[in-house]
C-alpha cells in the first residue's frame, strides 16, 4: 500500500513527502528549521503553503484538532506534566480517544515496551530521570494510537546507552504498531540507522533527500553530519 502524506512548505520552502508506515529522518544543523518543521505540521506556528495528512489539508488547523487526526508530537524538552504521576501523563495521551476499553489495553502495551515506566507509574513524573521522561514522552504519544508520530530530538541529553535502547524500541514500535514516524535528529548516524528515508535541511530548505542507505553513502552527508 502506498499513500503519500503530501507536501509541506515551511520556512523558505520545505518540500517533502512521507511514505505511510515508514520512518523518515530530518537531519540538519542547529537552526536549520527541523523543530519548526515539526511545529508547523502540528499547528504550533503560523504556516504558509500546504501541509496534507493522508490527503487531507491540515494547514491552519488548531493543534488540538490535528491531534484528533492521529498525529502525536513528542516535543523537544519532552513536555512532561511534571506534577502529575507517570500514569496520569499516559492517560492524558489518550485524552481524545473514545475507545476506553482499548486505552486500558494500550496502557499495558506501553508498559510492556517500557517496563521502567510501570515501576514508576504512581511516581510524580517530575522525579523521573531524563531518559525515563523521554520514554514517557514517546509512550504518551503512543497512547493516542497515532497514525503519525513526530519525534523532536529523542536522543537529546541522553546517555549513548539509553539512546540505543530507545531507538531500538522506536524501531519495534514502528514495525509492530504500523505507525509512521518523522524523526528530527542531530545525531545523524543514529537517525540514519533508524530511518527508511531521510531529508537534509539547511537554513530552511531541503538540500538532499533519499533513502537512508543512499544518504549514508553520500560524501557530503558523511563529511558534514557523520564526521568521517
Amino acid at each position: 500500500m502506498r499513500a503519500a502524506y503530501g507536501a509541506t512548505r515551511v520556512l523558505h520552502g520545505i518540500d517533502f513527502a512521507m511514505e505511510e508506515k515508514s520512518i523518515t529522518a530530518l537531519l540538519g544543523a542547529n537552526g536549520a528549521g527541523k523543530t519548526t518543521t515539526l511545529r508547523a505540521i502540528c499547528g504550533m506556528v503560523r504556516t504558509e503553503g500546504a501541509i496534507r495528512f493522508a490527503g487531507e489539508p491540515i494547514t491552519g488547523k488548531r493543534t488540538e484538532d490535528i491531534v484528533r487526526l492521529g498525529i502525536a508530537h513528542v516535543p523537544d524538552g519532552r513536555g512532561t506534566f511534571l506534577h502529575l504521576t507517570t500514569e496520569e501523563n499516559l492517560r492524558l495521551g489518550a485524552y481524545v480517544r473514545k475507545d476506553r476499553a482499548n486505552v486500558a489495553r494500550d496502557l499495558e502495551r506501553v508498559y510492556a515496551y517500557f517496563p521502567r515506566l510501570k515501576e514508576r507509574s504512581h511516581q510524580q513524573a517530575g522525579t523521573l530521570s531524563g531518559g525515563e521522561q523521554q520514554m514517557l514522552a514517546v509512550s504518551r504519544a503512543l497512547m493516542l494510537a497515532p497514525k503519525l508520530m513526530l519525534l523532536d530530538e529523542p536522543s537529546f541529553g541522553l546517555a549513548p546507552l539509553v539512546v540505543r535502547e530507545l531507538f531500538g524500541i522506536l524501531r519495534t514500535i514502528n514495525a509492530e504498531e504500523r505507525v509512521s514516524m518523522l524523526v528530527v535528529e542531530q545525531n545523524a548516524a543514529m537517525a540514519l540507522d533508524l530511518a527508511d528515508q531521510a531529508c537534509v535541511i539547511e537554513t530552511g530548505r531541503v538540500v538532499l533527500s533519499g533513502s537512508a542507505a543512499e544518504l549514508k553513502k553520500d560524501d557530503a552527508v558523511r563529511r558534514s553530519y557523520l564526521g568521517y
Partner: protein, 288 residues
C-alpha cells in the same frame, strides 16, 4: 471545657465555608498564578440571585441548584469575556481587572438589591442540630464537606478533571494531547464560581446578606489558602478549617470578637514571612 468544644465546633462549621472559598481561590490560582480578588463578590452576587429566587417563591433547594448553575455559567462567561483578553497581559493589569470586577459586582449588587442588610434563610431542619451545634452549623458543614469530596473525586478520578489539572500546569503539552486549554480554564472559573456560590449561600444566614458580606470572609479564605499553601487544594481545606477554629477560639477566649479579623491578617503576614509556601504548598522536585 464545654465552652471550648462549642467554639471548636462552631469554628469547624465556619471553617468549612472558608475552606470552600479558599479552594475556589486555589483553583483560579493554579491556572493563572494570581489570586482572584473578585471571588468573594462573585459569591455574594450569586447569593443575591438565590435570595431573589427564594423571595419569588421558589423552594430553597431548587433555588440553590439554579444559583449554582447560574454561578457556573457566570464564571465561564467572566473568563471568556473579561479574563481571556488579558491572558498574556502583565500581572498588574490582570490584578487591576480582578479589582475592577470586585468593585463592579459590589456596586451592581448594591444598585439592584440596595445596601440594606437582608436575612437569608437556612434550609436545614431543627432535627439536624446536635447538642453543641445549631442545625445550620451542622448543615453547612455537611454541605461543604460534600462539595469538597465531590471536587476531589472529580479532579482525581475523571478524565475531564485530569485534563483540567493538565491544562493549568502545562498548556503547551496539553494542546499536544488534544486538550482544548481555553475551555478548560473557563471551566475552572465556572467551577470556582459555583463553589463560591455555595459558600456564599451557606455563610449568608450567619453574616446576613449585604453587598459587603464577603469582604471579611474572603480575607479568612485568603489566609486559609496561604496557610495551606496557595497551590494546594488539600491545603486550602485544612487551612480553612484551621482558620475557622483558630478564629473562634481566639475570639472567644483570648482577644475578643472585635479583633477576630486581625487573626486572618496576622496569619497572612505571618505565613508570608515565615513559610511562604504554607503547610502543604508543594516544593516540587524535578530533574531535567
Amino acid at each position: 471545657m464545654e465552652a471550648v468544644l462549642l467554639q471548636f465546633l462552631a469554628g469547624l462549621a465556619t471553617g468549612s465555608i472558608y475552606a470552600s472559598l479558599a479552594l475556589a481561590l486555589v483553583m483560579i490560582y493554579q491556572a493563572t498564578h494570581l489570586v482572584n480578588f473578585a471571588q468573594g463578590e462573585m459569591a455574594m452576587f450569586a447569593t443575591y440571585i438565590a435570595w431573589a429566587l427564594i423571595n419569588a417563591g421558589m423552594p430553597y433547594w431548587a433555588a440553590f441548584l439554579l444559583t449554582v448553575a447560574f454561578a457556573f455559567v457566570f464564571g465561564v462567561l467572566i473568563e471568556r469575556v473579561v479574563i481571556r483578553p488579558v491572558e498574556n497581559a502583565p500581572v498588574l493589569a490582570v490584578v487591576a481587572v480582578f479589582i475592577g470586577l470586585l468593585v463592579i459586582l459590589n456596586s451592581i449588587a448594591g444598585w439592584i438589591f440596595t445596601y440594606t442588610i437582608k436575612s437569608f434563610p437556612s434550609p436545614f431542619p431543627a432535627a439536624l442540630g446536635i447538642r453543641y451545634m445549631s442545625p445550620h452549623q451542622v448543615g453547612a458543614l455537611l454541605v461543604t464537606l460534600a462539595v469538597l469530596a465531590l471536587l476531589y473525586v472529580f479532579f482525581r478520578f475523571t478524565p475531564l478533571g485530569l485534563a483540567m489539572r493538565a491544562a493549568a500546569q502545562n498548556p503547551v503539552s496539553s494542546r499536544l494531547v488534544g486538550i482544548r486549554v481555553g475551555w478548560m480554564l473557563a471551566l475552572g472559573w465556572g467551577l470556582a464560581a459555583a463553589v463560591g456560590a455555595i459558600a456564599g449561600m451557606m455563610v449568608a444566614p450567619i453574616v446576613y446578606l449585604d453587598p459587603n458580606m464577603m469582604a471579611g470572609i474572603l480575607l479568612y479564605a485568603f489566609a486559609a489558602a496561604l496557610l495551606g499553601g496557595i497551590d494546594s487544594p488539600g491545603g486550602a481545606v485544612v487551612g480553612g478549617l484551621l482558620v475557622g477554629v483558630l478564629e473562634n477560639l481566639l475570639g472567644a477566649f483570648v482577644i475578643g470578637n472585635e479583633l477576630k479579623l486581625v487573626v486572618a491578617l496576622v496569619l497572612i503576614v505571618g505565613v508570608l514571612l515565615v513559610r511562604p509556601s504554607g503547610f502543604f504548598g508543594s516544593v516540587h522536585v524535578s530533574r531535567v
